[in-house]
């Protein structure tokens, strides 16, 4: 005759989830990835606002220096942009990224 505790255990065993459940594990990993992404977005947004606020506060003091620097670097900046365009055009091979060449 089956013992009462074994009887209970057999009935409870019907509720037992599988020992390995890839669907559940995947759902947990998805939730963790979502939470991680949300945290990173919150951090980046907060850092952006702080950076923008600091820049706005310092802008009156920085503006003369930035203007002077921009005027001084304008020819060099144009040269860098032109060089970058030449390099890009020279190395551009249509279809290479698609594995056609």
């Amino acid at each position: 005759m089956i013992r009462p505790d074994d009887h209970l255990a057999a009935l409870f065993a019907q509720d037992l989830p599988p020992g390995r459940d890839p669907v559940f594990a995947t759902s947990v990993l998805e939730a963790v990835a979502r939470r991680r992404f949300q945290r990173e977005m919150v951090f980046i947004t907060a850092a952006s606002f702080v950076g923008a606020a600091v820049l706005a506060a310092l802008w009156p003091a920085l503006q003369p220096a930035v203007n002077a620097l921009a005027q001084g670097l304008a020819p060099a900046g144009l040269a860098i942009v032109a060089a970058a365009i030449v390099v890009i055009l020279a190395s551009w091979r249509p279809g290479a990224d698609l594995g056609l060449r």
Binding site: P4, D5, R35
Partner: protein, 173 residues
């Protein structure tokens, strides 16, 4: 049981996967029996692992990970059970998820589920851990934050009520 090495909130995905693989069965089984709602139990288990991921740094080197997870899950289930609105929303899902057709003793299983549902929350959780699960009384006391004697009393009384509901004679021992 020794917890795995984690780095605070920067827990590698493979470590989370290992944590889930090792403990999901015990945690989900406990939550299913403690709250009687399979869909809700699985949601709570998922939230438990999320909380564990966030708080893994607080875990001591000799901590019982399974008991720690069940403690988190139990606290979440208490919060959820207080929310009648949420329970009602999940009721339909439970009807779909609960087995019945094809089970060896569907009538007895239903009687057991009803009897479990009628138990007080703490008694039900103690029974779920010690009778339905393989947790020791000491582990259950830690998880439920109850004195050891109270847990033993809950288990004894809960067992008697379940056997009575099933019409099963208790051992004369």
């Amino acid at each position: 049981m020794t917890p795995m090495a984690f780095d605070g909130g920067h827990v590698p995905s493979q470590d989370i996967a290992r944590l889930v693989e090792r403990h999901q069965q015990a945690l989900r089984a406990f939550l299913r029996r403690a709250c009687g709602d399979w869909a809700l139990a699985d949601d709570l288990a998922q939230e438990t692992f999320l909380t564990a991921w966030e708080k893994i740094g607080e875990l001591g080197p000799d901590a019982n990970v399974r008991a720690w997870l069940c403690t988190i899950g139990y606290n979440k289930s208490l919060t959820a059970l207080r929310s009648a609105r949420r329970a009602r929303r999940r009721e339909a899902d439970y009807q779909d998820a609960a087995p019945g057709v094809g089970a060896p003793h569907p009538a007895e299983k239903m009687a057991l589920d009803r009897a479990m549902a009628d138990l007080p929350v703490e008694q039900r959780a103690a029974v779920a851990l010690c009778l339905a699960g393989d947790f020791s009384h000491a582990e259950a006391a830690q998880i439920l934050a109850l004195p050891l004697g109270t847990v033993k009393s809950h288990v004894t009384r809960g067992r008697a009520r379940l056997l009575q509901a099933l019409g099963t004679a208790d051992d004369p021992a």
